[in-house]
């Protein structure tokens, strides 16, 4: 689904990604761990194509196509979708107009919004005055209408209360798993994702297949998500990386 080769990127002339290589196979979910400032969000934003991040070297392949220089909206139309941690406010633009434009019209906005408890927010200006949990639900509403096949999720559980985490976690699960099909096909995961998490709470809702640890703009190790999370929680990032780098 996604393959990154030796990706270097800078922000305001300062290198933030220093040779990232990783792969998210089709139908798999990978987790990205890393300390603050390690380049996790930068990596997701660079994959989406946001202009603030300048790629100086390396390639991004999405669904077999080199998308390194592709405009943002074309990546989105190919099936890439991002959940931002801190999306901008857009005064004057109602959420329903954005949600309408994000979908192709076959899903019912009101029903989808209701499922995310976002009905009353449809006529509000996008993100203006939204709480942490409301922002996440607004992002998920947009993604639900957009129906991407590859999700970039930037800390979906940060800044939300326990009850909201449950709702958000279940919705992310729904976004990743195909509800159609029957027999062996039923409940198959049809989509892929790259997920940033600090706490690992989101892992209770999605079966992540692999995890990467990033530090200093480089992938330091790869392993099973629960194992890596446990090591980070028990030993901290430094020890975890030191220990695992040998095996990597």
């Amino acid at each position: 689904m996604l393959r990154i080769e030796d990706l270097h990127a800078e922000v305001d002339g300062k290198e933030v990604l220093s040779g990232v290589s990783l792969e998210v196979p089709s139908g798999q979910t990978c987790v990205l761990f890393g300390p603050n400032g390690s380049g996790k969000s930068t990596l997701l934003h660079t994959l989406m194509g946001f202009g603030q991040y300048k790629i100086t070297k390396g390639k991004i392949f999405f669904m077999g196509r080199d998308v390194t220089d592709l405009p943002i909206h074309e990546r989105a139309r190919m099936g890439m979708g991002i959940l931002l941690q801190r999306p901008p406010n857009i005064v004057g633009l109602q959420l329903k107009d954005l949600v309408n434009a994000a979908g192709d019209g076959h899903l019912d906005i009101d029903q989808t919004a209701k499922g995310l408890q976002m009905g009353p927010f449809l006529e509000r200006d996008v993100n203006v005055g939204f709480s942490g949990g409301e922002i996440k639900r607004s992002e998920l509403l947009q993604l639900s209408m957009q129906e991407p096949c590859f999700l970039l999720l930037d800390e979906p559980e940060s800044g939300v209360d326990m009850e909201s985490i449950d709702l958000i976690g279940k919705k992310i699960h729904d976004l990743l798993y195909d509800k159609k099909g029957c027999g062996w096909e039923k409940g198959n995961r049809s989509k892929s994702a790259l997920v940033i998490t600090h706490t690992g709470q989101i892992l209770n809702y999605i079966d992540a297949d692999c995890a990467y640890v990033i530090r200093g703009g480089k992938i330091m190790c790869k392993g099973r998500p629960r194992d890596i999370l446990r090591d980070i929680q028990e030993k901290g990032y430094g020890e975890c990386i030191k220990c695992r780098m040998v095996k990597f």
Binding site: F50, P71, H73, I82, P88, V91, G92, L93, Q94, D125
Partner: protein
Amino acid sequence: MPDGKVLRKKAEEALKVRGTYGRDYELENYETASTDREQYESLEDIATEQRKTMTDVGVLPNAEGRSGSLIYMDNSVVHSASSDQGLELISTKEAMAKYDWLKDYAWRAVAVDKDKYTARAFLEDANGYFIRAKAGKKVEMPVQTCMMIDSNKRTQNVHNIIIVEEGASLDIITGCATSGHASESLHLGISEIYVHENGTLNFSMIHNWGKETGVRPRTGIELGKNAKFVNNYVIMKPAGSVQSYPTCYLNGEGASAKFNSIAISHPGSEIDLGSQVVMNAPHTSAEILSRSITLGGEMIARGRLVGNATDIRAHLECRSLIMSEEGRTLAIPELEAMFPDVEMTHEAAVGKIAREQVEYLMARGIDEDAAVGMIVRGFLEGSIRGLPESLRQEIDEAVNMANLGN
């Protein structure tokens, strides 16, 4: 109204007085456009070209959903009709002849000697519309009027008087336009608006002037106790030089005024829009909201709130987007207070569209042009609630036509 001779003397003395703001026009270079145009029984009888000019600024030729229509072409009222018992809609001259008391209103909210433009309108004995909402009557549907210049290198002189009597309510939608062949003309429009105790007036204007047209409206508004006035001013198309600065006097306790201006300044256009609210009575409130874009022309947004009484609330907000290297924008918000017990605020912001916003929408699969269009449309109309549908349509069309993403 003071003695006619006194006014005439004042006007004659003011003929050389330049306007406070905006480019100066030599009035000697303009003859007065016809005061004797053909009359029309029905709006649908008006010739195709002129009818299109009217419909482009929101006038409905079949007058459906309108309580009355009045068309002022060059310097003649060419059509007037009304269907609401609570409404009177005739020419200003007819009204002056009919009502002796109207002398107390004419040239009160706008002084004849304000500048050369008011002086000229007075000395040319300008006609215009007289709209009266009768005491206690709610005029259900909006009145539509159109000020159309149909002769080139001429002045259109207008003197409108609107009176909303005690407890009455009225909506007016006015379209101001220049015919294609009449671009190098001058519109001198005097409007005096009086809203009495517990009266309500919503006044909306759409403009479509020519690329060389000079526009010098002079508007004064007086509000009585608990009167409400909303003014919506929309100019989306190229114009020569527009300079407008209506002044509203809140003279009655509890009165409120709201001015919404939405403007685009195209290359070659000079758009100088302002509003002033003078709060002369306690417990009054005022709001001035201005949203403008320069696409290469000059855009000036003025706003002035004067707190001349206690316990008042007022807010002023000027926001402007610059979408071209060539344009210039200037926001001038002013607050003046004479008493400590006032709550007056203002904010002004000038800048370009945030790239982060555009990219956020692009990440939802929306291409760049459409994303910019959505943001601009939201910027212009989104934060101003309750705009009439025809004004929204005008804004939508302009945003689509302007191809703002490029």
